[in-house]
């Protein structure tokens, strides 16, 4: 499904999953040659901030991954590998020891030490922190330096995705000498210049631990907020790579002699409901009826120019370790069934409601338009609300909607990545307003704490069914996410599935032919 156009194996690697199994990354970065040139990278938006621990969007994360790296990372196929750590070893399922790379050096020249690691995690969990993973990493009970290059962490509870959390773009290792104004990382590039709203330039860091890396002298990130412009810039040769290649241009790029494309089915679109509000949408049958009323292929065709895949059940990410399916817990396009469910719920003639989306993102608006049209066919009369993104988020958080369109991606390829979208203990605009299911919450918690793959699969299989039966969201489709790039660019491409937002890990591989 994923068409990778670079097949070179990035790193030889050993992966440890079981307790006590050591993993060793051999620094065998191939193609160690002095390439050069500056890669020009078209971003979809200017990173609002480059604070290392905050999640401020995909563009920021891509840039951050060029400057900062954490203990863990991903190879070109999306396999979890040690990054700043050289290896790790579990003792039981609550204690893990990381050995740091000898050659890992911060941009100020200092070696990366255990103290820096302890400092970094301290910053994430400290009082008043705005870190993305503050809640997740609260699982760390204790973190201590065994020696200068060895760190030992003890967890409060077992956590199946702990290593994935450490590979997140918001859990880098930064120097303990960092200040608010200048955060010192150890990534392949260092920040050289930036102009708010326009560009960020990073330059090759010569002492980067990856041998022969990075493959370019630097990267110039330029923001093109408008997708048509971003594509025009690529086509005109103003930039070498763009993120979020507009779906309408996939055909052109695929046929082009000079351009190529790298895609994955990463993010997905879904509907949320305000179930706190008295009315039909409190009834799961009505929500299911909506799930049956929509021809998902039309959403894919109209909003994503056909570049996506209909999604009928729990959005278990592509490349997930756990494969799930249950035809009985999946939707289809079935108007009769939708009408029957509506009638069963006591609304044979439908009802009126408001559908919240945003005019800021065309895909949200277009998805809403198609959904509106299909709901009209079963008698649900929908009015669109299309405020700008900022208002949309607030309205979502405050439950000022009946139905809402949303799209998102997780951060790693495991069903647990849906935790933040479905766990009611952490409400946000990404969840149906007022929705709470102890069954789903319990399954999520159980799945996270279970280390045995078989048992986890069983837990998530049950979640798959619960997702259909309780309908906390209605899935619509996977959307294909793509980088468009010049054929001169080698070694760069998207990571699969939910890791599409972590593709910045591959930036050190990129080269200009």
């Amino acid at each position: 499904m994923t068409d990778f156009d670079f097949s070179l194996s990035r790193r030889t690697m050993l992966m440890g999953l079981g307790a006590g199994m050591a993993a060793l990354a051999l620094p065998g970065r191939s193609q160690a040659q002095a390439a050069g040139g500056v890669l020009r990278f078209g971003l979809s938006t200017f990173p609002p901030s480059l604070k290392p621990f905050d999640n401020t969007g995909g563009a920021a994360n891509t840039v951050k991954l060029s400057i900062f790296r954490g203990l863990m990372g991903y190879d070109g196929q999306g396999n979890l590998i040690p990054e700043v750590a050289e290896s790790f070893a579990w003792e039981g399922d609550r204690t893990i020891t990381f050995k740091l790379r000898d050659n890992a050096v911060f941009h100020n020249g200092d070696p990366v030490t255990a103290a820096d690691v302890i400092y970094s995690f301290g910053e994430i969990v400290k009082e008043g922190s705005t870190a993305f993973l503050k809640a997740d990493l609260a699982v760390i009970e204790k973190i201590e330096a065994v020696d200068d290059k060895t760190v030992k962490m003890t967890l409060k509870t077992p956590n199946a995705v702990f290593l994935s959390l450490l590979a997140n773009y918001c859990s880098p290792v930064v120097s303990a000498k960092s200040t608010e104004a200048e955060v010192i990382g150890c990534g392949p590039f260092q920040l050289k210049a930036q102009e708010k709203g326009v560009f960020i330039e990073v330059a090759k860091f010569d002492k980067f631990y990856g041998e022969g890396q990075p493959g370019t002298d630097g990267i110039r990130f330029v923001a093109y907020a408008d997708e048509n412009l971003r594509y025009s810039a690529l086509e005109a040769g103003d930039v070498d790579v763009i993120e979020y290649l507009p779906w309408t241009q996939f055909d052109t790029v695929e046929k082009s002699d000079t351009l190529k494309i790298s895609t994955t089915s990463g993010p997905f679109m879904f509907l949320l409901f305000n179930v706190a509000k008295e009315g039909p949408l409190q009834n799961p049958k009505v929500r299911q009826a909506i799930g049956y009323a929509i021809e998902r292929q039309d959403v894919v065709d109209a909003a994503f120019a056909g570049r996506g895949v209909p999604l009928f059940g729990l959005p278990n990410p592509q490349g997930s370790n756990i494969q799930l399916s249950d035809p009985a817990a999946e939707y289809s396009y079935d108007v009769e069934k939708a009408k029957a469910l509506l009638a069963e719920a006591g609304y044979p003639n439908g009802f009126d409601c408001r559908l919240l989306a945003t005019a800021t993102y065309g895909m949200h608006q277009d998805t809403a338009s198609v959904v509106q049209a299909y709901l009209g066919m079963i008698g649900i009369n929908v009015t669109l609300d299309l405020p700008d993104w900022g208002s949309r988020v607030t309205m979502g958080t405050n439950g000022q909607y009946d139905i809402a369109v949303h799209g998102t991606s997780g951060t790693f390829n495991d069903p647990d990545a849906l935790y933040s979208l479905l766990y009611s203990g952490n409400p946000s605009y990404l969840q149906s307003y007022g929705f709470k299911s102890e069954r789903i919450d319990g399954l999520l918690q159980k799945g996270r704490a279970e280390m045995d793959p078989e048992k986890r699969k069983a837990i998530y299989q049950e979640l798959y069914t619960a997702y259909y039966e309780e309908a906390p969201q209605i899935p619509l489709n996977w959307r294909t996410q793509a980088f468009g790039m010049s054929k001169k660019v080698e070694g760069f491409g998207t990571l699969p599935g939910f890791l599409n937002g972590s593709s910045g890990f591959v930036l050190d591989e990129a080269k200009l032919a």
């Binding site: 938006t45 200017f46 609002p48 901030s49 480059l50 905050d54 999640n55 401020t56 969007g57 995909g58 563009a59 920021a60 008043g128 922190s129 705005t130 870190a131 993305f132 503050k134 809640a135 102009e195 708010k196 709203g197 326009v198 330029v222 093109y224 907020a225 408008d226 412009l229 025009s232 810039a233 086509e235 005109a236 103003d238 993010p267 800021t360 405020p387 700008d388 993104w389 900022g390 208002s391 988020v393 607030t394 309205m395 958080t397 949303h406 799209g407 998102t408 991606s409 933040s420 979208l421 952490n426 409400p427 946000s428 605009y429 990404l430 937002g501």
Partner: protein, 317 residues
């Protein structure tokens, strides 16, 4: 003159106070929370705790009235503060962006003046002639094409189809003068095109009006050559209204380059403002609007002075 300036400056300050207050109040009731927005850019999830912490860092936990007084006090000291999103200096951001917006407006205006004044004069001098009919017709058509349509079509033809010019973007002049100028062409022409239609109309009408005045007949009766009559007794007089219109348009353009900057990805002041509105970066929004309003008022002042220089009958009061 000094009294005049003093009064005008006092008026401007009062005006800016009102503008600032309106903007502050508007922003206070606009939905959207900068902290939540920042931490959920691109569809991510943020914990309520992280959002609350960020709000404290941004100073948004203060009571509204305290924020307002702080804003007034800072504005009085010309201290725009820093962006609540990334902490960058707002004054520096404006200083960086403003010249670029002024650059496309300036380049567009020069183009417009170069084309529209001679054309408008020629049309006005031979009103009803073939040139006038052709130029006025074309002008009416061009006036009717909105700027974003022009921009979109320009990109389609000149950048994508013909490949003559870049589709948009910006490179500093110091970095690459040739490329800078290349990138300037389309936005400047787009801005200039609309301005030119207005200047053409105004010039033509003004020339036509001035031609009808008695002093023109006097000038001919004196035996001046036609060229002198036109230059000294028609064009010089016609200049006043044209300058007024150009000036007013410059003020309006300063805020209406939004679409042009958007279509050509030109990193000017409008882009800064639009971005700030999207991210709810309140201090930046306020500072940019105050800057634009101040420039608008200053331009009006300059026009008044300029007009009084051209037409001695206008006394500054």
């Amino acid at each position: 003159m000094a009294g005049f300036l003093l009064r005008r400056v006092a008026g401007a300050v009062a005006m800016l106070f009102v503008v600032g207050t309106i903007v502050f109040s508007l922003l206070a009731i606009v939905p959207g929370d900068p902290a939540e927005l920042l931490l959920s850019t691109g569809g991510g999830v943020a914990t309520p705790e992280a959002i609350a912490n960020l709000r404290t860092q941004m100073g948004l936990d203060q009571p509204l009235i305290a924020q307002y007084l702080g804003f007034l006090w800072d504005s009085l000291r010309f201290d725009f503060g820093s962006s609540i999103i990334d902490g960058s200096s707002i004054a520096a951001n404006i200083a960086l962006r403003l010249p670029r917006t002024l650059e496309i407006i300036g380049a567009g205006t020069v183009l417009a003046l170069l084309v529209a004044i001679p054309a408008g004069t020629a049309a006005g001098l031979r009103a009803g002639g073939w040139f006038d009919v052709a130029a006025s017709g074309l002008n009416a058509l061009l006036t009717s094409v909105p700027g974003f349509v022009v921009g979109t079509l320009f990109i389609y033809f000149f950048a994508q189809t013909l490949g003559w010019l870049p589709a948009g973007g910006y490179v500093a002049f110091a970095q690459n003068p040739a490329q800078h100028l290349q990138m300037l062409i389309l936005p400047a022409v787009t801005v200039g095109l609309h301005l030119a239609t207005i200047i053409f109309r105004m010039t033509r009408a003004s020339v036509l009006e001035m031609r009808g005045h008695d002093w023109v007949r006097t000038a001919i009766a004196k035996g001046l050559t036609r060229r002198l009559v036109i230059r000294r007794h028609v064009l010089k007089n016609a200049l006043g209204p044209v300058i007024t219109v150009v000036g007013m348009q410059l003020g309006i353009l300063l805020g209406s380059t939004v679409l042009v900057e958007f279509v050509y990805n030109w990193p000017g002041l409008s882009g800064l403002l639009v971005g700030a509105v999207e991210q709810r970066d309140y201090p930046t929004v306020r500072a940019v609007i105050l800057t634009v309003a101040a420039i608008f008022i200053a331009i009006n002042l300059v026009i008044d002075i300029l007009y009084s220089l051209i037409d001695p009958r206008i006394r500054l009061q």
